[in-house]
């Protein structure tokens, strides 16, 4: 067990855990966050995604020992029910989910892409989402929500 300090959603958090502990368990068990999810533990589904240095990171496969001092953004850090982030609002407006378990991976992966490439093409979006899984078949609405967010963003930048 070693002590690590992480900046999670803007707050400094200190944990005392085995360095090999995947970040996902630190976030959900030690820090009791609800956003990132365990889907596979194998980086095959994206449900655990968080954003570090602008990149989508599969937290199930990221040992916390390598992340000391990192700034981490999770789904709950983007917004709240009372005040959702525009990307979350786009998913709410499009009703773009069914069980909602995959949505953390979807939103964090999409946001990481669109923060870097606001005008991403359809092909770029599909490439970025190609490692994220939805089993309920909400694919069509998910892409509608991503496009809706992109449009809102574009309008925002033009305003």
């Amino acid at each position: 067990m070693s002590v690590f300090t992480l900046k999670v959603d803007g707050r400094s958090r200190t944990v005392d855990v085995d360095p090999s502990t995947p970040l996902l368990y630190v976030l959900t068990d030690d820090l009791e966050l609800r956003g990132p999810k365990f889907g596979c533990g194998l980086s095959q589904c994206g449900a655990c995604t968080v954003i570090i240095k602008g990149q989508p990171v599969r937290s199930c496969s990221a040992p916390v020992g390598q992340l000391d001092g990192s700034e981490i953004t999770t789904l709950e850090g983007l917004g709240t029910v009372e005040n959702p982030h525009p990307i979350q609002k786009a998913f709410i407006d499009e009703q773009a989910m069914q069980c909602g378990f995959c949505i953390n991976g979807v939103i964090m992966t999409a946001k990481a892409l669109l923060d870097r490439t606001p005008n991403a093409s359809d092909a770029q979006i599909r490439q970025a989402m190609s490692g994220v899984l939805c089993r309920c078949g909400a694919h069509q609405r998910i892409f509608q929500a991503i496009r809706r967010y992109m449009q809102a963003n574009a309008q925002g930048r033009m305003a």
Binding site: Q95, F101, Q127, S130
Partner: protein, 788 residues
């Protein structure tokens, strides 16, 4: 900590002795305030997948007929409603809230729905099988409770205001005289905080759909904001004080039994609390989840050799050789004769593999087993049945067990939710502390209750004019275990490992004669037959009166269980493919050929509407002048009346087939859907889209694989899913709002027709008929190469 309980409901629960996480050690049968619980004995029937059994796919329990079990109104007029049908992502929480708001004439935000808690909600058996809408949205249960309450309130107001009921109106929780609105009284003043002490009134009148202002509208789902912002409490997020973490250790191969466990191999690892062994069940409990994962991987357990598995390459043939349990859905007795005398016979065999639920999140449960009582937070579809089987598993009285539903990942049937509830219960009982268990991806996939494998032989006899005169169906499907129901924890892997047998397989051959009412609950009979048993009225949707539908169930080497549209999907694939093969052999247009053999006007309507909206070009398949290399396009149609009485659906699929690579791309699906009065148009649209898209994945990609002794589909590389970057069709829904009809389900209907429509479209594009799912590029290329 956000949840779906508002402050009012949380306060009410606290008064009754519970906290939101159910930490109370108090007697949770205690009644308090307006909360009444009536327990009903869990149903004795279990969920058999015998194709001819006359039942719905899920038992609907035996819920209370007391109004107070369903509806409570507090002094400030807030309505609390209790339901035994729960939210899995299908929008049911919101739709039921709409239902109560509508029937009680209160604003939506004044209704708090409590779902699926054995201490609080009526026993409605299992939430499954497209049965939730038929059960709760027609004229019984929750719908009837709303109507009964509204009429009772009007009666009470009539007495209080001295105004006849016919001259009163109820709106926004206030009842007033039509002629003089100052004569008014609120629900809170009428009954607030007190019990109704009434039975559900079978004569209470539902509001007519034409008058709905809340039900029938696309209300946005109440839970989506919390889901989208990550604050939603899944079962995976439940935390209780002193909670420990468990991980299971499953056998390495099918049939392997535990020979020994070397506890010392892990007991000194950091945080490890206990190794739990019960017969062949093994688990490790630790302080932190990663410690449990590492210990489970390190634990030195010795297992016997497995019992071996039949060769996958010859499995469909193997199925035909096993002892069978036989049943007729229908048998007019003259099919052989009609076939012998037919102008032409078309026959084909269809094959459908084992597939998985493969939920995006592996199953998780938290169990707190104490001498005074057991509480399990579970994503089970069946809280009351699970209470019973958990009691059996732990050797405690059912009255001491409380199951609290918390949403898991979308389940599509019996996934690992019951299994992991047992895992957590066994481990908590062993350590005397609450234990949270989540399955690994491998353990979940290797030991799931798979959707049944099927091999289906069909023959159609035609007369000289090309009309079908006889339909002959004979199929083999596999079964082992299934839903635990109320009595069979051994129907899923954990119960089995802990020493409970799966429900017995009882061979029976030959099949007894078909009798009683025609029951197409597994869609074994195609849409085109009359469904007449003996001299009874024809109850099927078709016109072909010589009909024989014979089902053989055989024992499966793997656990099986209901997977979205169980048996119905496999059968419809076979029926709709053969119908198309016959039409093609006659150079008949597939739409016209179907309409010619259907008599149910609503089934004909969905076929017609789907075709019209898709701008179906009327001509036989295959498409003339398609080249034999490169990418070609085609269209196909399939239709079904789900379960013979539970949702009409037709879809036109448009595909591209790359004849060089064998890759099939489904470009568009137009779906016409008629499920009676629609409770939420966006909800039903979401289910149609989801059904088609998951149907595409099951048709093109998914198949359980195994080796000589174990399942080899254990992650997302070895069981192929439809990722978000993949090509998915545009799904266009044509929703028919049948306001005069019975409310039917819609969660499993669109998926039922996907495979048939896609297979028919591939034929249209290429002239090649695929009869084995999934339509992998290898299979497509092989079929193309075999083209004459």
């Amino acid at each position: 900590m956000t949840s779906m309980l508002n402050a009012e409901a949380r306060a009410a629960l606290t008064d009754a002795g519970f906290t939101e996480a159910g930490l109370s050690r108090r007697d949770f049968l205690k009644q308090s305030g307006a909360l009444i619980v009536t327990f009903a004995a869990a149903g004795a029937a279990t969920d058999l997948l015998s194709p001819n059994a006359a039942f719905a796919q899920g038992i609907n329990g035996s819920p209370s007929n007391q109004l107070d079990s369903w509806i409570a109104i507090s002094a400030d007029g807030r309505v609390t409603a209790y339901t035994g049908k729960c939210e899995f992502g299908q929008g049911l929480f919101t739709a039921q809230t709409q239902l109560v708001a509508e029937e009680l004439s209160v604003p939506l935000d004044r209704v708090q729905l409590i779902q699926c808690d054995t201490a609080l909600t009526p026993d409605q058996g299992t939430t499954s099988g497209a049965q939730s809408h038929p059960t709760n949205f027609n004229t019984s249960n929750l719908a009837l409770a709303g109507a009964t309450a509204r009429e009772a309130l009007l009666q009470m107001a009539s007495t209080k205001l001295a105004v006849p009921v016919e001259q009163l109106t109820a709106k926004d929780g206030v009842i007033s005289a039509l002629s003089d609105p100052s004569k008014r009284i609120t629900y809170g003043d009428l009954v607030g905080g007190k019990k109704f002490e009434l039975r559900l009134n079978p004569g209470a009148k539902r509001k007519h759909p034409s008058t709905w202002t809340v039900l029938g509208t696309p209300v946005k789902r109440l839970d989506i904001p919390a889901l989208a912002t990550g604050s939603y409490e899944f079962v995976h997020n439940v935390r209780v004080p002193e909670m420990l973490h468990g991980r299971v250790v499953r056998p390495p191969s099918v049939g392997a039994t535990l020979m020994g466990v070397d506890e010392a191999s892990v007991l000194k690892m950091p945080g490890v609390v206990k190794v739990v062994v019960k017969k062949n069940f093994v688990g490790v409990v630790a302080q932190k989840p990663w410690q449990a994962v590492q210990a489970a991987a390190k634990l030195n357990a010795t297992w016997s050799r497995g019992s071996g598995l039949p060769d996958q390459k010859t499995f469909y043939q193997h199925m035909r050789t096993r002892p069978t349990r036989d049943a007729f859905t229908v048998n007019s007795g003259d099919v052989d004769q009609k076939i012998a005398g037919a102008a032409r016979v078309v026959q084909a065999t269809y094959r459908y593999p084992y597939q998985m639920h493969a939920s995006i999140g592996t199953a998780c449960a938290v169990a707190d087993v104490k001498a005074e009582g057991v509480t399990i937070w579970s994503a089970t579809q069946a809280v009351h049945p699970l209470r019973n089987t958990t009691a059996l598993l732990l050797g405690v009285p059912p009255a001491n067990v409380r199951i609290v539903f918390k949403m898991g990942a979308g389940c599509y049937g019996v996934n690992g939710a019951d299994t992991v509830s047992y895992d957590a219960a066994l481990m908590s009982q062993a350590v005397g502390k609450p234990v949270r268990v989540q399955l690994s991806r491998q353990d979940e996939m290797a030991w799931e209750n798979y959707g049944l494998a099927f091999v289906i032989d069909q023959k159609i006899a035609l007369d000289a004019s090309g009309t079908i005169v006889a339909w002959d169906y004979e199929a083999w499907s596999t079964t082992l275990g299934g839903r635990p129901g109320a009595n069979n924890p051994g129907n899923v892997v954990t119960g089995f490992l802990a020493g409970f047998p799966p429900q017995a397989f009882n061979p029976r051959s030959p099949a007894p004669p078909a009798q009683g009412d025609f029951d197409n609950g597994s869609n074994t009979a195609p849409s085109y037959v009359t469904g007449r048993i003996g001299t009874a009225e024809a109850a099927g949707t078709g016109l072909v009166s010589s009909e024989r539908v014979l089902s053989h169930t055989v024992e499966s080497p793997f656990f099986t269980g209901p997977l979205r549209s169980p048996a119905r999907l496999q059968n419809t694939f076979a029926h709709e493919s053969l119908m198309d093969e016959v039409a093609a052999s006659l150079k008949a247009d597939p739409v016209e050929y179907r309409l010619r053999h259907l008599r149910d006007p609503r089934l004909k309507e969905v076929v017609t509407r789907a075709a019209q909206t898709a701008k179906w070009d009327t001509r036989p398949s295959p498409r003339p002048a398609n080249r034999r290399t490169g990418v070609v396009s085609g269209r196909g149609i399939a239709c079904v009346l789900y379960e013979g009485d539970n949702g009409y659906c037709a879809t036109v699929a448009e595909v591209d087939v790359n004849q060089d690579t064998g890759v099939v791309t489904v470009k568009r699906c137009v779906v016409a859907m008629d499920a009676g009065p629609i409770s939420n148009p966006d909800g039903i649209r979401n289910q149609v889209e989801g059904g088609i898209i998951t149907g595409v994945g099951r048709t093109l990609l998914e198949e359980v694989t195994w080796s000589a002794d174990r399942v080899t589909s254990i992650d997302w590389r070895t069981y192929r899913p439809l990722y978000l970057g993949a090509n998915v069709p545009v799904v266009q829904s044509v929703l028919i709002n049948q306001t005069e009809g019975h409310v039917m389900g819609a969660g499993e209907t669109a998926i039922t027709v996907a495979a048939g429509a896609i297979g028919n479209a591939i034929f249209d594009a290429t002239g090649v008929r695929l009869r084995e799912i999934p339509f992998t590029p290898e299979r497509v290329k092989a079929a193309l190469a075999a083209r004459a």
